[in-house]
């Protein structure tokens, strides 16, 4: 980059951008403490809405469903995705490239297409095999759109792997399995963890795909959507605040981890040079 540092205008621009992005969220949070139902006129401080939220069984159920689906889908997708990545990495180029293209379809396709197509599939199969849209189909849908992101996370790490490490470990007496677990996995672990986190976040945040495949079960996004369709209650603001704080903490943890990783990697490189 040009060696000049940012002047006032550069910093101002960034500040404006962040203001634009955070102002609505800030408004949401502030009005979650508003003592009247109004979302635009401040009448006083109260935590009533949070209390109401805790008693709102529909929201709590939806939150539980969302967490359950997201955790399960993330774990399953990560395990499946990691194995798939390893498999794909070891394939001949001829097969690998088209498969990676197909893998990209859920990533690049619009949510609504994925949701609609899966809905059609489940209804089609459901009529013949006698099952219904519900938690099972929701989970399958989430796993399906999560795995590609895991693969996209793990593959670069596999590519960065030094092939010789594996054989070196075997030369030193490891069995195939030991070499795999003790050498390969730790090297690609950052990719795996990133994939896991990404899958989890995508699942928690998803609305469109869940809308079409959840059947009679409800995720948090679907519940919020239903809430915006009727009388709007600041309970929505309350839950926004809670989600925001949780995600903020998560992101801080991730970033601290990454900073530490970089430091550790740097240290290792320097030690290696010596």
């Amino acid at each position: 980059m040009t060696n000049k540092k940012n002047g006032f205008w550069g910093r101002f621009l960034m500040f404006l951008m962040l203001f634009f992005l955070y102002a609505p969220i800030f408004v949401l949070i502030v009005f979650s403490f508003n003592s009247s139902k109004s979302r635009s006129v401040w009448t006083g401080f109260t935590t009533d809405w949070y209390v109401k939220l805790l008693h709102n069984s529909a929201i709590l159920n939806a939150l539980y469903t969302t967490l359950l689906v997201s955790v399960l889908a993330a774990i399953i997708a990560t395990i499946a995705g990691t194995f798939a990545s390893i498999g794909l990495y070891n394939m001949r180029r001829r097969w690998r490239e088209p498969l990676l293209q197909v893998n990209n379809i859920p990533v690049i396709n619009a949510d609504i297409i994925t949701g609609v197509s899966l809905c059609i599939l489940f209804v089609f199969l459901g009529r013949r095999l006698g099952f219904e849209l519900g938690f099972g189909t929701l989970l399958i849908a989430h796993v399906t759109f999560n795995i590609p992101y895991v693969i996209l996370s793990v593959m670069p790490k596999l590519r960065q792997l030094d092939n010789n490490l594996f054989e070196a470990a075997q030369d030193l007496g490891c069995t195939w399995m030991q070499a795999f677990v003790k050498v390969i996995i730790p090297e690609i672990m950052p990719g795996i963890v990133n994939g896991l986190l990404m899958a989890f976040t995508l699942s928690v945040d998803d609305f469109v795909i869940s809308y079409f495949t959840a059947g009679s079960v409800e995720t948090l996004s679907m519940r919020i959507y239903a809430m915006t369709k009727k009388r709007i209650s600041p309970e929505i603001n309350a839950i926004s605040t809670i989600l925001f704080v949780t995600i903020l903490l998560l992101l801080i943890i991730i970033n601290v981890r990454e900073a530490r990783q970089e430091k550790a990697a740097k240290k290792r490189r320097e030690e290696f040079k010596q």
């Binding site: 399960l72 209804v123 519900g134 409800e218 239903a226 915006t228 369709k229 009388r231």
Partner: protein, 345 residues
């Protein structure tokens, strides 16, 4: 640190899965109802009385209910369609016959609401609410309006008018205004109604259903058309609002509880329906939703003032001017679908 995180995550996952497995042992009933159409505190009482957990979801319109059920792949145990939708579902074999031995509280329902055209043998439904459609307006924004459907189409209030977000009710407002039978299958008449709606679109604030509550109560819009019970709730929350039934006539409807074909928990559904007909539950629901109950026993327990409320219990004169929807033939329904998609786009 990393190990602890991983352990915690694994533990949480295991816990979640166990609770999921555990809770699947419990009896449930899946209820699918209109939005803002029930007192949600009754679920706990139902669970206490019967041990059955209520899973509650809402839909916005009869057409949406139909689409979701027709789509297949979902199983609800109790649904609450309106009269015309019930007759359509009976015709298309989408409902289960109710085992009334599980619903003894049927006897509490006023016989006036039984054996009607939509369920002539009274085999598939149990009435839940009834009412009529009326216009609600904000007196500070609309001065002394003529009590006619014309108010909905008046461009003096451009940008402040709210219209139904479903094809049947929206077309009905036009058909009533034009003076046609609300169940007409005459293409020319339907076309004219559709054109009227097309002309109305630019002056509307939006097509809404339950979003109307916030908009009218908050003073965002001046004129809206909605079901009587909801209008009553809005007026309770904002005394600036007023209501009238247009002189050209309006729609009289009965919403009833039904069990869709293939429901997984039919017995639980019948128990729930029976519970909903208990007098004190009827009264609680009426209190929260503002809709009149068809239960004769509950009516008997109402005080004079409530019985006099002409929004809740319109007079004979008004009722005689009302028409009920009946299910339309397939090609007319297709025409409605067509008009509706074109109108919204």
């Amino acid at each position: 640190m990393k190990k602890i995180l991983c352990l915690a995550a694994a533990l949480m996952a295991v816990l979640l899965v166990f609770t999921a497995c555990g809770s699947s042992e419990q009896e449930v009933v899946n209820v699918y109802n209109w939005g803002e159409n029930i007192d949600e505190t009754i679920f706990k009482d139902f669970e206490k009385q019967t041990g059955i957990k209520v899973n509650y979801k809402v839909y916005e319109t009869n057409e949406q209910l139909y689409a979701v059920l027709k789509q297949g792949g979902v199983s609800y145990d109790v649904i609450v369609p309106s009269d015309y939708m019930i007759s359509r579902m009976i015709a298309e074999d989408m409902l289960e016959k109710i085992d009334y031995s599980n619903v003894p509280n049927l006897s509490k329902i006023d016989p006036n609401y039984l054996y009607r055209e939509f369920d002539p043998e009274q085999e598939y439904s149990v009435p839940y609410t009834w009412g009529i459609v009326g216009i609600v307006y904000n007196t500070t924004m609309v001065e002394d309006p003529e009590e006619s459907w014309g108010l909905l189409f008046d461009d003096k209030y451009s940008g402040q008018i709210l219209q139904f977000d479903n094809s049947r009710d929206a077309m009905a407002t036009a058909l009533f205004y034009l003076g046609y039978d609300v169940n007409t299958t005459d293409k020319a008449e339907l076309d004219e109604a559709y054109q009227l709606l097309v002309q109305q679109k630019p002056i509307l604030q939006g097509y809404v259903m339950d979003q109307m509550f916030d908009k009218m109560e908050g003073g965002e819009a001046a004129v809206g058309v909605y079901y009587a019970g909801d209008c009553l709730t809005m007026i309770d929350n904002n005394p600036d609002l007023a209501y009238f039934v247009p002189e050209e006539g309006s729609n009289f409807f009965v919403d009833a509880m039904c069990i869709p074909k293939g429901a997984a928990n039919k017995k639980n559904a019948e128990l729930f329906i029976n519970f909903m007909c208990e007098t004190d539950i009827c009264l609680r629901n009426m209190d929260v939703t503002g809709y009149a109950t068809p239960s004769a026993e509950a009516y008997a327990e109402l005080d004079e003032e409530t019985r006099e409320n002409d929004i809740l219990f319109p007079s004979e004169e008004v009722l005689s001017n009302c028409q009920t929807y009946i299910n339309l033939p397939a090609d007319t329904l297709e025409l409605y679908n067509d008009y509706w998609t074109k109108l919204k786009s």
